[in-house]
């Protein structure tokens, strides 16, 4: 699991304020510094959600473009990382919805019918099965599962980024995990006997 790239101690917040002030003043070096401090986590999350480099790049770029446009509105009510993730997750989820809608319109009916009906005989490999299971999770479960179990965000961070209470994040993770266990039920005996 990864830790937050920006510390939350007092010194971190002071330097963060200075950095934001410089960015608001239009300092190009400060803009690059802000970008370098956060781009890895934003891009990683965007890639986990999108699964494609091109989309992940678009989402990441739009996140920073919008952040620089609105940095003057940032009021330090949360950490800069949380604020950036709020923008980033919103852009990624909205973008994915648009892409999904467009692709569903174009996808052949046979391909759509096959989604979620993969059997172990057809696809015995766990990773492939797991990928299909995660892909078939609804957005709210999938996002929380990827952020918490894969990228290591805390429920507080997930709640702030998604605009939901941390308790809701826990509930969604619990339910998402249950759906994955159910989807991979035919591996159960194998895992228990290991």
């Amino acid at each position: 699991m990864m830790a937050l790239s920006v510390p939350n101690n007092g010194h971190g917040r002071v330097s963060e304020r200075q950095l934001v002030a410089r960015v608001v003043d239009g300092d190009p070096a400060a803009q690059r510094e802000l970008y370098d401090s956060h781009v890895d986590r934003i891009y990683r999350l965007a890639y986990r959600l999108a699964g494609e480099d091109e989309l992940a790049r678009d989402f990441t770029q739009l996140t920073f473009i919008r952040a620089f446009e609105r940095i003057g509105d940032f009021r330090f009510e949360s950490s800069l990382a949380t604020w950036l993730h709020t923008i980033g997750v919103s852009i990624a989820l909205n973008g994915l919805r648009k892409v999904k809608t467009a692709r569903t319109r174009e996808a052949p009916i046979e391909a759509a019918a096959a989604i979620g009906t993969i059997t172990r005989e057809a696809e015995p490999d766990l990773k492939v099965r797991l990928k299909a299971a995660i892909d078939s999770l609804s957005e709210k479960y999938r996002t929380v599962f990827l952020m918490h179990d894969v990228e290591g965000y805390t429920h507080d961070e997930i709640g702030a980024a998604l605009g939901i209470p941390p308790g809701t994040s826990k509930t969604r993770l619990f339910q998402g995990r249950a759906k994955l266990r159910e989807a991979l039920a035919d591996f159960r005996g194998e895992w228990i006997n290991e």
Binding site: Y43, Y47, L55, A56, R57, Q61, I65, E69
Partner: protein
Amino acid sequence: MSEEDRIDEIIRSAASEYNRPPETPRDEMWSAILAARSAPGPRLHVTAGGAPSGYTTKRRFGAQYAWIGMAAAAVLLIATGVGIGRWTNRSTEQTIAESPSPVPTTPNDEIRPSPPPITEPPQAPSSTEAQPTPRTQEQIRRAPVIKGTGRLTPISPNTRVASAPSSNIYQVAMVRHLADAEVLLTSFSLGSRDDAMNAQFAGWAKGLLSNTRLLLDSPAGDDPRRAKLLQDLELVLAQIVQLAPDARAEDRQLIEGSIQQGHVMTRLRTAIPADSTRILER
């Protein structure tokens, strides 16, 4: 560890391979961000296949006409104001005509003879024979013309050498520019809040922003009071240029707040002389 916890752990471990990200393409993305930020207004459009298909703006037929209508209304408003100003200032016109100094650009400017320019040529006309030379007429004919999003012709640094004719050229350019800026800001304040309008304003402001910066670097920016006005105008125009087509109401309010806090409209109107029509005719 319970059975479920154990299964969850196995799933979590296997899921680390799910959509495993490659190394972050930092520099490439940064270049794209800089490029996108220098192109105002338009937004990245993601195609059905997920690939960006370029930067596009939404345009609506009705919105375009609304923009033209508002601009025309604003021009009419200014023309009426200028007309009233000329009518009320007739009594001072004679004094201005006799003055050897350049035409004042603000009503607050005192009308007084200006000191002789440092590089005044020996054949410079006296105040009693203040007829423009053919060269001056040519310069005035070639004076930068700003219309809507048009560009101001870049000014050579050599023209910074003070001289009355070139000073007049910058006066003309300055007055035209300030009048255009007033039209934009009036339209912006009165404008509707839809995406297409934001894109229109951004495009319009981009041209004016270039001209503002050119004027700041020209002799017209030597006057501290005008320079301050141009700097404040530059800030407002830059904000409008960066206004996204789908900007929130708060973004617009921030810009309108900047205009109000800096008293930009009042200062613009004050800086446009009452006899601006006469200056522009020259």
